[in-house]
Structure formats: structure tokens, C-alpha cells
Symmetry: C2
Subunit: 506 residues, 2 copies
Amino acid sequence: MAFGENLEKLHNMDREMYHLEKALAVLRWDQETYLPEKGVEERSEQLALLEGIAHERLTLPETGRMLSELGSTQENPGGDEKLPALQRDFLKTLRRNYDRAVLLPHDFVSDSARAEGLSQAAWVNARRDNDFSVFLPHLIKMINFARQKAVYWGWQDKPYDGLLDIYEPGMGADAIAAVFTPLGQRLSALLKKISSRPRPDNSFLVQEFNLENQASFNRILLERLGFDARRGRMDISAHPFTTILGSDDIRITTRYLPRHAQSGIFATIHEAGHAFYEMDFPDEIRGTCLADGASMGIHESQSRLWENVIGRSKPFWEGMLPVLRSYFSAPLSNITVDDFYRAVNLVEPSLIRVEADEVSYSLHVILRFELEQALFSGSLDPADLPAVWRKKMKELIGVEPETDSQGVLQDVHWSMGAFGYFPSYALGNLYGLDFWEKLKSDIPGTDQLIAEGNFTPIRTWLRDTIYVWGRRLEPPLLLKTVTGKSLSPEPFLTYIESKYAEIYGA
Amino acid sequence: MAFGENLEKLHNMDREMYHLEKALAVLRWDQETYLPEKGVEERSEQLALLEGIAHERLTLPETGRMLSELGSTQENPGGDEKLPALQRDFLKTLRRNYDRAVLLPHDFVSDSARAEGLSQAAWVNARRDNDFSVFLPHLIKMINFARQKAVYWGWQDKPYDGLLDIYEPGMGADAIAAVFTPLGQRLSALLKKISSRPRPDNSFLVQEFNLENQASFNRILLERLGFDARRGRMDISAHPFTTILGSDDIRITTRYLPRHAQSGIFATIHEAGHAFYEMDFPDEIRGTCLADGASMGIHESQSRLWENVIGRSKPFWEGMLPVLRSYFSAPLSNITVDDFYRAVNLVEPSLIRVEADEVSYSLHVILRFELEQALFSGSLDPADLPAVWRKKMKELIGVEPETDSQGVLQDVHWSMGAFGYFPSYALGNLYGLDFWEKLKSDIPGTDQLIAEGNFTPIRTWLRDTIYVWGRRLEPPLLLKTVTGKSLSPEPFLTYIESKYAEIYGA
């Protein structure tokens, strides 16, 4: 078969994979938003069937043959060097997806999927009953499956790096440790400083906020941010998320808690940040495997940039507080922008990562990164996790869980075998500020723009410098391309130290 | 391969087909309810891909081989006579679906699908611009495709019967004409009688009905009817429908018009009738190709039974009017049950089928049936349709459209090539009352039950006598099994003549 014909066939195959993934996303979105209670079991059968079909199609021997004929190998995934860069990036991504799928024996895939189901169920029970021993045997199995998977993919020597590579291509444990070490030290120091200062008042945020008004405000908020309602929607789910049901159908969810209005507000802004990335890919990669975030961490850089750097800034609330007040005049009548700003940036070391403030958040992640490294190097026995968790929490964040449910059992990730995922959350903070530093040097007066609610210049910059690449560049190269520099924790640390010095007068 | 093994493999294949169809239903449901504006185009690509996969799987030569090895042929679709009745019905249905799919050449399927797309688009334009000539060449093509399809399926001599068989298995044009002839005569006579009587007042139904209150009332209504919200939902769409996303996930839609509250109310009851059928199949056929209505007409018998015979009855509003009044005290303050009953049963010959009252509705259907017969026998030139339509409307219903948009172009069906579909709508009325006559003889005091809102005995009877069969029995046999009699228009005519004699004092 001719060269061009192979390429065209691979593009058609990729287009089908894209549609299949999006069809799966429709089923999953519906499951989290509108599925009736009793429909859950059958929905998982539907999902399993479609996932099987997608896997079957991706791993057709014909795909491997065409990739090879185009010169794409594991060593040179981009194929023939005479191909245009875009096509080479396309082949590279396809090769990566194809290899990931075919290198795992069929029995291994079904065995680990089954084990994952049991493990998640055991984790739910263990967390409910605060009984780590129920989860332990499953955890050990999930660690072994994950290690074995990395070995199948060729990471015999450094299996944990193989797992990190799923979520952060091009970032090994050493590279991550190099930035996490100073990050951990300076955040701990900052946390210590803050703990000696008076606590800002946030009591006005902890009272009754009418749910319908919350919903109305969040719709206005989303519109002001520039979310295009013709190309997406916002619904409600227990855990907010962003999902892609088509290149013109990007959906987010949020949630409204009656006595905690800020939960929904920052969930909406966070998910909008994810959505903007997905909405603004260039036409040349739309609807292909390249229309995706560069990594989990780069994706998180966008959500956390919007949520924290923009959404938790004073200029942002100069613009939005009057709008919020129009929905909640009673609770907010005497509250100034400064009061509000200090309240939504309250730092309070706590046990649960997903509820952590901006300062301690990354410390929760570092704890998990250190534990995962130790688990995969063999220096930590999984049975010792609860004790080590408590000790490290005390060291890093200064609080200690009374129960394992509030400690080592709090996150779902390990029960799913998703080791190597956590670092992306903190890397997102770092990437975000590395980008932001460059953005601020390119766009003067961001504070003014944010206060005016004019987010277009920011979104345009993000689109033209970051989103334009989709997943063509791995994070280290993307960073270099955008900022001219390597990953550094400095911009994030400078930002956070100066922001909280001002708030806490420390 | 062993006998039992083939059967098991066919059941697995059927289960996969079931899941694929339901996954498709999720995508279609979402398209009608929540899909953002710009997502439409990609959604149709996703649907086309999944439909292709479903068709591919159904028509695997292995399926045909296994069916044959189990003794199933076109002549003896149920296979080996030693098999249990349930398995024979299963094989019969699978054989029917398989033959339907494999007997059509691949090119024919893709050519007709493409033509259908163009035809629907042309119909939309023709209706908008009131220009039948734009639609005519497409209509001719759709007639030819439909005829050719019937020929491929072996209906060379009576292609229209082959099309009717899609929607009403076992019911040919002669059998339908045998009941439609007296139906048409007596409905026309009734309509004439009514037209000479004073028109009941329904002005109180044509005023502002708050949309949120409509939504609240319709939720209560659905709950009172016994719709299990753990196994389904109700959303809003432009055209109300029922769809099955899983055997425990049956969804209906309704719509709320600001000045026309009864539109939503009767849509809700109508779709609930469809949903009950789908919700109450017995375990032995759940999740298989037998878990389906016996035919379009039998399905419609359920929706129209609930909507008209129950929902438009006086006892029903004895129970529900106080509830409705609690949401709309102003518009309904002085309205008695009798006023309300007469208003929602207003008979007013009109041009549009979907808005027709209970008396003239079937006449709209008979008109289409007669035209379809003439088109497929060749006695009617499609170019003459507009004129013949006007003439027949005048004869049958007493009104004449001024435009073709309000006449021959009003329905979508022909533009999709769905000839033979219309008769099911009126057959549903007849089946429904045939069933109802038997139900009333089995359950004493239905009026009392309906007035009390105790629908359980009725639903239980429908479940145990009709739904229990799924699509195992073709309509004629189902009717015989349930009522002991053949299809007759008498129960419907007796019901409608006495109901409207009482309302109109005729």
C-alpha cells in the first residue's frame, strides 16, 4: 500500500477511535449526572462492551503494519523524517497508544480489570469501616499489576517512572523530586509562618446560601469567564469534572452545597479552566488523537491557574463580588472585597487533600509521591502505610489523622491502580505559574483585565502559546517552547509566598 | 459446535447487540435533551459509527451459521421444534433481525441512507417554503428505495405488505383495510354529528400556565401514575418521546407550553404508557431482543390507552383536578371536573394529525394509509399527492389545507422512507380498546380505581397479560391470546361513540 494511503487510513482509524472515546464519554457523563439509580449495573456492561470494541479496533495488526510501513517504531515513533512535523507527532502519539495497548497480554488486561473492580469495592468498604486490613491485600495486588504493566511497557529498571510516564510523559521520578524537594521545604516553612498569624474571618461564608441562587450565579460566572454555551454545558454531579463528548461538546459539572457557596464557585472556575483547554485546540488537530492535553499536569495547570491565580485573586472579586452580592445580599451585605479575598484564601492545614488550601495542597501531593516511590522501590511495606502516612502528615502538614479513613484511605486512586497520578496535581501548580510569569510579561495589566472581567487577552494567549500544541509536545518541551525555560518551582513559590505574606502580614 | 453452545453464543451476541442499541439510545436521548447546539454534527458521526459497528456484528456470517445449525431458516425461523417455546421465539426474532440485515446489499444500505439524509433536508426546506416540488424527486426516490427493500426481503408481489410488516408483523394491508373501513365510516359519521352540537368551552385552558408549576405538577402526575423514578427519568424535548437506555433505564420526555398546559399533561401520560410497557417485561426476556413491544401499534395501544381512555376520563380528573388546581388556582378556580373533562375532550376537526382530537385522529391515519396503498400499487402518481391530499381531507375530516405545508408535507415519515408506519397509530387505538374491554371484564370497578389514583391493578393486569410476552407474539396472536378474539374495531367504536354522545348530548 502506498505511503499516503497508509497515512490516510491511519487518520480514518484515529477518527473512529476519537468518536468511540467520545461515545464512551457520553455514557460516563450521563452516569455521573442523570442516570437513574437502578441503571448503574447495565451502564457498566455497556461501557465494558464499548471499551472492548475500542481496544479491539486500536490493536488491529493492520494498525501496527501501517505504522511500521510509515517508519514508525518504538525507538523512532514519529516515523519517516521526511514527513511534516504534524504528521510525525500524529504517528508518535498513535504509536504510543498502540504500543501501550498491544504490549499488554489479553489475559493481563482482563485479570487486572477484574482485580481493579474488586479492589475498588474493597476500598469503599475499608474506608467506610475504617479498616485498612480489608484493603491491604487488594492494594498489594494493584501494586503488583502496576509494576507488571510498567515491565510489559519496557520499564523493567524503573517501573515507577513507567507509571509516571502515563500521566506526565517525559517526567521521571528524579525530575519530579528535583522540583518537589524545594517546593516541600518552602511550603512547609510558609505554612509554619502562617500558623503563627491571626486567622482571617471566613464565618460569613459558612451560612445558608440558597441553592437556586447559587445555580444562577454560577451560570453568570461561567458566561463571564467566556464559556461558549453553544459548545458545552454545565450540569451538577457529586464530584465536579470536565469531560469531552465531542470537539464541540465540552461539558463541565459543578456542585452546590447549601452552607458552603465557595465550593461550587471554585469548582466551576476550576472546571472551566479545563474546558477552555479542550475548547481551543487549533483546527489542524481537532478531532484527532493530538486534540488532548499535553499531560495530566499541564491540564491541571490550566484549571488551577483559573481557579487560584485568577479566581482567588483580589482583582477577580473586585469585578465579581458585586454580582455575587446581587444574589446573596443578606450574607454579604457588609463584606468588602478585601474581607472576601482573605476568606477564600484562608490557609488551614487539614487532613483531606481535595479540601486543602492553596498552600498546603502541594504538600499533600508530595506525601503521596514519596510513599509511591518507596512502595515501588520496595523500601516501604504496604502493610506499614497507615503508620507512615500519619507520621509524614504530622511532619509535612502538621496534622495527624485519627482514623485511616481520613488518612491513607482517603483517595480513590490507589484502589484503581493509578499509581503515578498524584504528582500531576502539584506539577500543575508549578507549570501554571511558569506559564503565568511568561503571560504577565507578554500581556501588561493582567490585574486590570481581570478586574474588568475582560478575560479574552488571557484566553487568547493561552490558546496561541499552549493549547495550539495539543498533546504534540511532552511537558518538558512544551514548557521550553512556551517559556524558554525548564520547569522551575520558583514562579509558583514567589507567587504563593508574596500572596500569603500580604494576606497574613507575615 | 454443540447445539447448546451455539444457543449460548447467540445469546451472548444478542446481549451485545442489546447493549449497543442502548448505547446508541443514550447518544440519541442526549441529542434530543441536552446536546449543545454545535455538537450536533459530530454526534451524527458518532451515531453512524456505532450503527455501523452494530450492523457489522449482527451480520457476521457466524450468526447465520449458528442459526442454521439450530435449525432456524427463513421458513422455520424458530429452529428445532424440540427447543423450548421461549428459545424458539428468541431464534425467530434473531432470524428476522439477521435476515432483515443481510438480505440488503451493502451498497443499497449506504445509498439509501445517503438518499434519506438528502430527502429529509429537502423535506424541511419544502415544508418551510411550502413548495412540494422541492420534495417530490426525493419522495419518488424514497418510494423506490422502500419498494426495493421489500423486494429484497421477499415481498415481490406485495411490497407494501412488506413495509407494513416492519411495524406490524403479521398485519397486511388487507387485514388493516378490513378494520379501517368500518372505523373510517363510523368516525366520519360521529364527527358529523358532533359538528352540529354546541362546542364545549375550553377557553380556561388557553391562558398563562406558569412553566415551573407545570413541571412540578407533571412530576407529581408521573409519580401518581406509578412511574418508578429509580428506573427512569423525565426530561424535556421539543417532541415528546420514550426511549430505552437500559432495561432499568427507561426515559420519557415531555414539553411545557406557556399557554397550553394540557399539551404537557397528555404528553406525560402518553409517554408514561409507553414506558410502563418497557419497564414491566418479565425477567426471562429482560435484556434480550424479545424485550420489546410486539409492534409499533401494540406499543401505541399502551400510550393511547393511558393518555385517552384513562387520562381523558372523568374519574381520572376527579382524582387529579384538585392536585392540578393546587398549582393553578387562578385559571381553574371555578372549573368543575365536568367542565375540565369536556374541555380536554373537545372535538375540533383540524389539519394536523399530531394535534388531532381522539375522534378525528384515526381519520388522519386512514387518509395516509389509503395514499400509501395507492402509491405502492402504482395507481397514484406522487406528483398528484397534494391535490389528492386536499380532496381526501375534505372528504374524511371536513377541512382542507390552504398550503401543502399544512397538508401533504406535515409529517416527517415519508421523507425518511418510513412508509407503512402510519397505520400503527390508528391500530393502537383499536388494540387498546380490545384489551381494555377484556381488562374491564377481569377487573371490576376500574372507574373507581382510576378516581382513587390506584393504578396498580390496571398495571398488573397489563403486565401479566400483555407485557409478559414482549415481542414473542405477533399482534394477531397476541390479541387472540389476551382477549380470545381477533382484532375488532367494535370496542373502540363503542367506547368513542358512547363517550362523545355523553359529552355532546348527540
